[in-house]
Amino acid sequence: MTDANSPERADQTLDCIGLYCPMPVIRTNDEIDKLAVGETLEVLADDPAAEADLEAWAKRTGQKILEMGKTDEGTRFLIKKTK
């Protein structure tokens, strides 16, 4: 069960904890390729460059970052495949 405050559930999760630039971007792009348009990908990353880099990646690829928030381990992204 999820409560109203829990983050939106993703169709797929990608764990990038422990990975450094450029791997979170490369892995995220690979995973997004596997999804259908409209599906969402949750990315967990502790690379300090991940926030800026995934934003740049989303800007260039046209994919949409729905949520971006701090967690105990680092940052959680929720990305929607838009195309």
Binding site: C21, V25, I26, T28, N29, D30, W57, R60, T61, K83
Partner: protein, 122 residues
């Protein structure tokens, strides 16, 4: 979404300077993941990086060998071009390069620069 862009990376540093070799490959493979077309042009001493068997022996700190990074970039679809005149300068024959590296000339580099949306030189 922005129209398909192109970035040209020019590597002028050779296997004697390992610290200068990783960046263009990492940037270029990341560009591909961002939907950006990426080409690396090896010029001057830079041609030593794509000489067969050379990059396998080049490594810096905890990083993988340069050859591993080259393979990742190739797998990502990064194009590699080698300067013909630089090969002559360094006495390297055409057949001595990794097969993915295409030997081209000065006109091609000039054209690639004008055609690119941005260039980076290493």
């Amino acid at each position: 979404m922005i129209d398909k862009k192109k970035i040209l990376y020019v590597q002028t540093s050779g296997v004697d300077t390992p610290k200068r070799l990783y960046s263009p490959f990492v940037l270029a493979m990341t560009a591909k993941a961002m939907g950006i077309d990426a080409t690396i042009y090896f010029l001057g001493s830079g041609v030593t990086v794509v000489k067969k068997g050379a990059a396998e022996n080049v490594k810096e700190g905890s990083f993988p060998t340069v050859k591993e990074i080259i393979n990742q970039a190739i797998a990502a679809g990064v194009k590699l071009s080698v300067c013909e005149q630089s090969c002559q300068l360094l006495g390297i024959e055409r057949g001595e390069f990794i097969p993915e590296a295409k030997v081209v000339g000065a006109a091609t580099l000039n054209d690639l620069v004008l055609d690119a949306d941005g260039t980076m030189w290493f």
